[in-house]
Each structure stands twice: as C-alpha cells, then as structure tokens.
C-alpha cells in the first residue's frame, strides 16, 4: 500500500500554489482548499535562490540551527545584580568608552538623538562641561565608541552607556553568560532620546547616587529574579515586552518591594524609588531587553547556523548578526521610517529613522512577534486585535521554533515564534515585524510617537550570501 492508494481513500485537502482560478474551481466542488499567498522566492533573484538552495536540506545547517534553537529555548535569564558603574561590570569598557545602540557608527555619522545622548553622557561623566566641549571631544577621537552589542550590552533608543552609569546584570543560568543594560529613565526629556539639558543630567546623577544603590540593596534581599518567568507572566497580562511593559513593570515593583523594605533605607528614599518606577511604564523594558540578549548571545557563533542573533538600529543603519557568522560580523542596511501614530503636534517629518537595541526583544520572539497577545497596543499601529494576531501568525513563517515559556493565550497558548531563520526571511520576503518608539530627529526633543517597522531586506540578503559562502 503506497501513499497514492492512501490518497484514494481519503478526502482531498488541497493547497493551491498559483492561479486562484483553480482554487475557485476546487471550492466550487466543496473541497477544502487553501490558497498560498505565493510570490517568487527571494524576490526572484537568482544568486539568492542559489544560496537558498545551497543552504536548504543541509544537515550541517539543520544541526547548527537545532543547537541555536536549543540554546535560546533553554536560556534562563536571571536578574542577579545591579552594577553601580558600567565600567566595573561590562567587559572591555574603559572610562572613555561610550557604548551606543545598533551596529558600529562613527561620531560624524551619528543620528541627531544619538549625538545628543553622547553629549549628555560626556557631560554626565565630567569629561566635558558643555555641548561644544563634548562635541569637540567626541570629534577629536578621544572617545572609544562601540556598539553595546559587542560588549554583551543592550540599550534602548540611543542606547548610550558610559563608564559610571549603573547597569542591570542579567545572567543566563543555563550557560552562565551575562548581559547588561542601563536603567530606564522614563519618558519625556531623557538621554536615550538625545536630551542633555540640566534636568537630564540631574536625573542621571540621582539614578546613579540614590536609585541604583537602593535597588542593588533590594535585589540582594530578594535574591535573583527569574526574568523568564516574569516575562511569561507579563505576556499573559497584555504586554509584549517591547512597546508595552505596564504589566512587567508592575510585576517587578511587586517582586522587589519587600527587598526594598528590608534594605533599611530612609522612608523618603524608598518612596522616591517606588514613585520613580511607578511613574514609568517602560521601566521593565530595560530588563526584558537584557533577558533577550542573554538568551541570544548563548546562541551566537554556532558554525553553520542561519539563526538571527541580533537585530538593532543606530538611527542610520539597521544591523543584523547571524549565529553562523561569529563575532561582530554585521549585515547592515538603511534604517527605515517607522509607521505608526504620532503624539499631538508631531508628524512623520519629525521622526528619526528606526533607532535602538530594543529589537532584541523581537529577535527573542517577543515584542512585535508577540503582538497577538497584546491587543491593547495595536491601536498604535492603527490596527485591530485581528491585525495583531495576523502579525504574530505571520512570524511563524520565518522562525524555526515556538517558545513554550512564552505563550499567547488567544492563540490557544501557542508559543511565541522564536529563532528567526535568515533562509526563511529571504525565501518568503517576510520581514520581522518590530514594535518601536519613535525619537525626534533633533537631539533632546524626546519621543514623538510609536509604531511598527520592518528591517531593510538587504540585511538578510547579505547574511544569506555570507552563510552560503561559508558553507562552500
């Protein structure tokens, strides 16, 4: 008995790839038929199709991807500490190092918000007295600029981390690797959107001098906080871990509060710390990001793997790293305009192109990939809950796994789409969907809106070609 004879005994269920005419005829015969939304693979480009063919059904690639997927799914990011100065915690950092979001970028080429944030950081560090001095210092080559990602760190928006900023320390309990992220400053005029006025510097100082020691002490009493569990709960409470962090922030405050109480701080300090966290719905973003980073770093550098381990933006370029191209091999393309809603008084002309390391959440399978479980934020993209589900559903087509730890209730608790496969992105032309905030293109104005953005396709095309070249 062959499969052909089995077919004769079963009801026909058809997938139609091509002319809708045949779909219509089958539907008229009451045959269950699914029309594929087909388009030429890899945009019909022969060199990409050749690379795809070279990398498909290749045991080495499949094995490497299985290892990368296992590393991501097994990762258990735990918040273990708060380092009071980045320079003491982040490997390779010096007093004159400034880390920034996205792929590498020279000072001269930096986007407005990032330049503003660099100026603010140099003033905060006491390396410059004012804007002019800071700009001169940065231009004189005295400052070492490097991507956060190349130092195990991530930062939202401009992503600026300087030596004396406090940073969260997250450890992947499965592998022991660590990741770092500065503390979230809140909305409005803040460094990560390029503001560097006195109020910004004052807040950074308060965070360094009062907030960070208080939270460090509280953490010591709390013990490590399992971020995987916290993200999982937040997802069931309507967060997606990138553009909505209300639930995560609430859970964090609830978890850390007893430790804070035990830390023996002056009641006014405890009150200020709690009030600061409470006033900032995005406080948890700076924890979901390093959690994602810790998981993905564990999957980076597996020879032959086509799993994306980094997606990030510096406001000028979008950068992608792929597991099978180890170290700091970046595949870049122009940062795209974000489509979404603007705060009153702002419009598309005000927005800087896509910015920040926060796309690490999508790389991890949350954020835009988990939008189906966060219906409250779909209004940002002018959509309906059905659109949110469609975004998530679509992402299953470009990912290799589903994360059983992070589930979407209204998709029948299906795991979030996880481990973006470069091959699938190129083959389908479906680009990862990223939820994101929009920064004003001028330094210091702040956030002007939020919406959805997709990476430039060329990042993935280049990565695929590089993987194929390595596979030869």
């Amino acid at each position: 008995m062959t499969a052909i004879n089995e077919l004769f005994k079963r009801k026909l269920t058809v997938i139609n790839v091509g002319a809708p005419l045949f779909r219509d005829d089958l539907a008229a015969q009451e045959v269950p038929v699914t029309q594929l939304d087909w388009r030429p693979p890899a945009g019909g480009r022969p060199e990409l199709i050749a690379a795809l063919d070279a990398l498909s059904d290749r045991p080495e690639t499949e094995a490497a991807n299985a290892a990368a997927v296992a590393a991501i799914l097994a990762a258990r990011p735990v918040l273990t500490d708060l380092a009071l100065a980045a320079v003491d915690a982040i490997p390779g950092m010096t007093p004159t190092t400034i880390l920034h979001a996205g792929p590498p970028v020279r000072w001269e080429a930096m986007a407005g918000p990032m330049r503003g944030a660099v100026i603010g950081a140099l003033i905060f560090e006491g390396l410059a007295a004012d804007e002019a001095e800071a700009a001169a210092l940065a231009a004189a080559g005295k400052i070492t600029f490097a991507p956060c990602h190349e130092h195990g760190a991530v930062g939202p928006m401009a992503g600026i981390v300087s030596a004396s900023m406090p940073v969260w320390v997250v450890e992947n309990a499965a592998r022991g690797n660590r990741s770092y992220c500065p503390l979230n400053e809140g909305l409005g005029k803040v460094l990560r959107f390029g503001a560097f006025g006195a109020e910004v510097i004052d807040r950074l100082r308060w965070m360094r001098d009062e907030l960070a020691p208080a939270l460090k002490a509280a953490l010591a009493h709390t013990g490590g906080i399992d971020l995987r569990t916290m993200i999982a709960q937040a997802l069931h409470m309507g967060d997606e871990g990138h553009n909505r962090n209300k639930a995560g922030t609430s859970l964090f405050i609830r978890t850390v509060a007893p430790g804070l109480a035990k830390a023996g701080l002056a009641p006014a300090v405890t009150a200020r710390v709690l009030a600061f966290m409470h006033a900032n719905d995005h406080f948890f973003l700076n924890l979901s990001m390093p959690a994602a980073k810790a998981a993905l770093d564990a999957a980076h550098g597996i020879a032959g793997s086509s799993v994306v381990t980094t997606m990030c933006r510096n406001g000028v370029e979008f950068g992608v790293r792929v597991s099978g191209c180890p170290g700091n091999t970046w595949f870049t393309g122009p940062a795209q305009a974000v489509e979404g809603l603007f705060f009153p008084g702002y419009g598309p002309a005000d927005a800087n192109p896509d910015l920040g390391d926060s796309a690490i959440t999508e790389t991890y399978g949350i954020g835009g990939f988990a939008m189906g479980g966060a219906p409250a934020i779909v209004q940002f993209v002018g959509g309906t809950p059905a659109d949110a589900l469609a975004y998530t559903t679509q992402m299953y087509e470009i990912t290799l796994a589903e994360n059983g730890s992070y589930t979407i209730p209204n998709l029948n608790f299906r795991g979030t789409p996880t481990a973006i496969d470069v091959r699938r992105v190129v083959a389908t032309g479906l680009l990862p969907v990223i939820n994101t905030g929009m920064a004003h293109r001028e330094p210091g104005v702040g956030q002007v809106g939020a919406g959805v953005v997709r990476p430039p396709r060329e990042c993935f095309d280049k990565a695929l070609l590089a993987l194929a070249a390595r596979a030869k």
Partner: protein, 494 residues
C-alpha cells in the same frame, strides 16, 4: 499614441490574473496595447517586443509589477490603469480575509489534513515548490510548464521513493477521488481508472466514458514527457501500479502521445503483469503495436473509452465501427457545396492531443492543424481554453483562404475552461461563413464539443449555439476528423 507605465514595487500577482486584467484593459476604447506582468527577465523581453519597456520597467525586478498601456490618448491610458487598479484593489480586499500562508511548508504544517498541492506558478519556480510539497509528504499536481527535464526526473524519483504522486509538469487534467483538478470534466464515477500523459486526450477519454454510461475511479496525469526516454515512464508505471491495487478500479486506460520505444516496452511489460484489463491509446502515433496479453489497443480516444466501458461491464471490446454509410452521405452532400480548389482542412485546436489525434486521422500534407495552446501562441497570453477569443482571428483567416474546405474546431468544456466558449466562438463562425460566401465559396465548419451536460457550460447548450451559427457538430474528436477527411478526399476512409 501615448504610453503609460506604472510600477508597483513588491507586488505579486499570478500570471493568469494579470493576463485576464490585461485583456480587460486592452478591450477598452482607444487602447492599442496593454501588458500587466511581473518584471522577470522573460517578461521584460516581452515588453521590449511590444515597445513598452521603458527605463522604469527595465530597472524593475521579478517581484515588481509592471502595468504598461499604449493608447490613443492620455485619457484612455489613465482609464485603463484605473480599471486595473480597481480590479486589483477588489482582489486585495478578498485576499485579506483568508489566512495567508506564504510558504508551502508553513501551510502544510498548519493544515495537517492537506494531502495534495496544486502548483501553477511560473516554471522557473515550480520545481522548488514541488520539492517543498514532497518534503511535507504531499502529493503534487504540477500544472506549471517550463520545468527542466532534470528537475522532472529528480522530482519523480523522489516521489517514487516516497510513494507519492507527481502529476506533471505540464499536467492539465486529473480527477482524484471524484474531484476535478485544473482542466477536467464533470464525469460520473465508476470503475475505470485513467492515466494520461496528455491533458485533452484524457478529457476526451473521460467524457466518452461518461457518454457511454461508464464512470471513472481515478484520473491521473503524468505530464507529457513522462514516457520520454529520460523520464522513463516513472509516474505512469507508479499510477498503473496504484490503480492495479485500487479496489475501486476494474479497468485501466493509458493515454499518451507515442512513447519512446524503450519506455513503451517497459510500459507493456507492466501492462502484461497488471491483473486488470488495460486499454492503451497513443493518439497521433501508429494505430497499434503488437498485442500484449491483457492489453487492448485503441486507435482513437473515443475507441479507448468504448473499449474500457465494455470491459468494465464484463464484455469483450469489438472491432471499432464507423458508420461509413452515414458519413459518406454527409460528406457527399457537403462536397456539393465546395468549389474545386477547396481541398484542405484547417484544424484550429485548443487541445494539443485533440489536435494531434485529428491530424493523425487526416492524412495529407496540404492540411494544416494548429495547436493554439502550444508555446509559440501562448507566450504572455492565456491558454485558448481559458480565453477562446484568441482563436477567432485564425478562424476568420482560414475562411479567407480559397483552398480551405473545412474548418475543424474543438470546444473544450469543464473546470478551468472559459464559461461560454461556444458563445464566444459562434459569431466568428457566422462571420467566417459570410467571408466565404462573399468570395463566392462555401466553407464548412465542423465543431466538436468535448464535455458533458454536467459541465457548468452544458454540452447541449454549447452545441445548440454552435449549430445555430451553422457549424456541423461532431460526436467525437475522431469523428470530426473522419468527416473532414471524407469531405476533402472525396471518399470515405475504409
């Protein structure tokens, strides 16, 4: 003349949809030429050929849509582009409601019951999709043509190992579990299994099985190259074996253009080994090979159907009978209307195998049989079974040829085919007869409707339209060819 070219980046539509829309635009007043294609290298050549390849279209890529219009006026161009936009906007609206999968693998994973992929994407991509389908354990109906021979061999070997079907490439007709796939007719179910390497040949066999009171169990296609030396009949052998095992099948019919000799031998070995009677028909080739045990050769598609129906009913097929007297008297009557120089047949066919069969039954180098579904006529155009109006100019041209005595036509009904091919063709038949009359001649139009009354076009309805236009109706494709030959050779074939 004004030319407008619109490019839509990253917008994909399948070629059948685009060709239908292009025709709609071209039919608008003042429009001289309208093309809507994906900007593949092949299609760019096509655009260049009609002088519509501007710099924008040159720069576009295979996932960009190009809509180009040449018209008498600016307004006509704009109107045509609006018609296009309106139609595609409606489509996009429909599209959004369905769960959209972009890859076969994703669709197959989400639809565990799926067991067949029907693939009709452009040939250069079709083999990739077929491979993806086989990887998911799906049977494949590969409608696409322009698939390389190497790909076909590889796909069929893979399918053979997995025990799956790869029907095609270039397979237009199948009926699986009573479901008509692509171009197939609504025929009764029964005990006759058909394996066809040719689409319209298979259609012709099945409609006659139906007409003669029989029915089909499974109708499987193999694609036209299956019996070539390179492919070696992999799929026909697998299908024959499957039908031999199938309890619902009592008789098997094999239909193919004449196979490569080595492959024919392999097939005949399998036929001999088959525990069920097998009717073999290679229309257009030699009438019969040496008889093999259990094999019945049929010279025409109609005879193949008749033999199969007889065998299925437990009888023994008799020698084919042709109503010679009736044919002779009809031909004699028809001949009286012809001028002496009118001695050729012009066969204008939508079906490739119907064309080959008719040509094979009408000896004489002076006759012209044209398969309007062949590549040279369909490049960038729909198949004439979908768009029968493409044949009309050929009918009128034949009527203007003083040597033409008979115009022989096939009208193919069923799924996939135009909703009213006879309605489209009838006015041209009237006009053709007028053209001949004006030149002091009479031209006979013989039409054969390949279909059943259960087809949505309705065979009887289609025939009455053709008869009203003055066409002589044939009962089968072969009989149409016999009559045409009898008229022009002035004697009845013995």
């Amino acid at each position: 003349m004004t030319v407008h070219v619109a490019i839509r980046k990253n917008t994909y539509y399948d070629s059948v949809t685009l060709m239908a829309l292009a025709r709609k635009m071209a039919a608008l007043p003042g429009v001289a030429e309208a093309v809507a294609v994906m900007a593949t290298p092949l299609n760019k050549d096509l655009l260049a050929g009609v002088g519509l390849l501007g710099p924008e279209a040159s720069a576009a890529g295979a996932d960009d849509l190009v809509v180009a219009v040449k018209a008498e006026s600016e307004a006509a161009c704009v109107a045509a582009l609006e018609v296009f936009s309106g139609a595609t906007a409606r489509q996009a609206g429909e599209k959004k409601t369905a769960a959209a999968f972009t890859t076969l693998a994703a669709a197959a994973r989400s639809i565990p019951d799926a067991n067949l992929a029907v693939i009709s994407v452009p040939g250069e991509y079709a083999a990739r999709e077929a491979r993806a389908a086989l990887r998911q354990g799906l049977n494949v109906m590969l409608f696409s043509d322009n698939v390389s021979l190497e790909d076909e061999v590889e796909l069929k070997k893979t399918a053979h190992e997995q025990g799956l079907l790869v029907m095609g490439p270039d397979c237009g007709t199948a009926i699986v579990n009573g479901v008509a796939l692509c171009f197939a007719n609504a025929v009764r179910r029964g005990g006759i299994g058909v394996v066809g390497a040719s689409g319209t040949g298979t259609q012709e066999v099945t409609v006659h099985i139906d007409r003669l009171g029989g029915g089909v169990s499974q109708v499987l296609g193999t694609g036209g190259r299956d019996l070539s030396a390179a492919v070696g009949g992999i799929m026909m052998l697998d299908c024959l074996a499957a039908l031999a095992r199938d309890e619902a099948t009592s008789v098997v019919v094999l239909v193919s253009k004449p196979p490569a000799p080595a492959v024919a031998a392999k097939i005949m070995t399998a036929v001999t080994a088959c525990p069920k009677p097998v009717v073999v028909c290679f229309p257009g080739g030699e009438a019969a090979g040496p008889p093999a045990a259990g094999a019945y050769f049929a010279a025409t598609l109609e005879e193949a159907a008749r033999a199969a129906v007889t065998l299925a009913a437990g009888g023994q097929p008799a020698a084919p009978q042709c109503r010679h007297e009736k044919l002779a008297s009809m031909a004699a009557l028809a001949r009286t209307k012809l001028a002496p120089q009118q001695d050729t047949i012009r066969g204008l066919f939508c079906g490739g195998t119907l064309c080959a069969e008719a040509a094979g039954l009408s000896p004489g180098a002076r006759h012209l049989f044209v398969d309007l579904g062949a590549d040279e006529y369909t490049k960038g155009k729909p198949h004439p079974m979908i768009e029968p109006s493409l044949r009309l100019p050929h009918i009128l041209a034949a009527a203007g040829d003083p040597a033409v005595a008979v115009i022989l036509l096939d009208i193919v009904l069923g799924y996939g085919a135009h909703p009213d091919p006879a309605g489209v063709t009838a006015p041209a038949i009237v006009e053709a007869r007028e053209i001949a009359r004006a030149a002091g001649r009479h031209v006979h139009v013989i039409a054969y409707v390949c279909g059943t009354d259960a087809d949505r076009q309705g065979k009887a309805d289609q025939e009455s339209k053709l008869a009203a236009a003055g066409a002589i109706l044939a009962k089968s494709n072969a009989r149409g060819a016999y009559l045409a030959t009898a008229i022009v050779t002035r004697e009845v074939r013995k």
